[in-house]
Symmetry: C2
Subunit: 123 residues, 2 copies
């Protein structure tokens, strides 16, 4: 991961971008997407372009309080805990989920505005 | 590609789904995404999770009349014609671009409502 200092557009932290509510760029249909913005946007889309990760996002969002631990996600997904943890890590690194370690378990929630910002770019 | 007959959810034509303005499913945050819908949605997202294809969508949308031929797209993208044609084919198969052969060239346009439908699922 890159640090807050020394960011260049192609390496900008997706977490930072999504959490700010601005994934990277203007809506695709408004103006031609620049090469560097396209790399940033493609990286975030790759993180969600997976059936298990889409279901995880949706399960976390629909869970009571908008927050879920790995222990809540294994059974509905039907995958092993290491596999679920791997997919959750990809979503955290893409700036779409937050992770909060409390006691034995880590709890995951949607980054506020993260998916909305992504949707806004596609419109 | 599958035909209009004999479709099963996991093999549903993305073209048909996007063109109908309903990519596959309810917004991710409204209810848990089913396993079969997740496969359909991931396939469409994989088609756009690529810097060159994102730029192509955006170039086509921003082009005069919302339509462009391969000949308009090679120079701004800086890729060879076979490579651009390959990426365009992926976007057509994902239901995001239409292709209209007229004379020597094929002309591409956004499928109306295709990207909007995708954005609506992410919200």
């Amino acid at each position: 991961m890159v640090t807050a200092l020394g960011l260049v557009p192609t390496e900008r932290s997706a977490v930072e971008a999504a959490a700010s509510g601005v994934v990277c760029c203007a809506p695709l249909s408004r103006e031609p997407l620049g090469a560097e913005d396209a790399v940033v946007l493609a990286r975030i889309l790759k993180a969600i372009a997976d059936p298990a990760r889409l279901r995880l996002l949706s399960l976390v969002a629909a869970h009571e309080g908008g927050e879920a631990c790995v222990c809540d996600l294994i059974e509905p997904l039907g995958l092993s805990q290491p596999t679920v943890s791997h997919h959750l890590k990809v979503l955290v690194e893409a700036g779409l989920l937050t992770r909060d370690k409390r006691g034995v378990w880590a709890y995951y929630a949607l980054v506020p505005g993260g998916l909305d910002a992504l949707a806004a770019v596609l419109r």
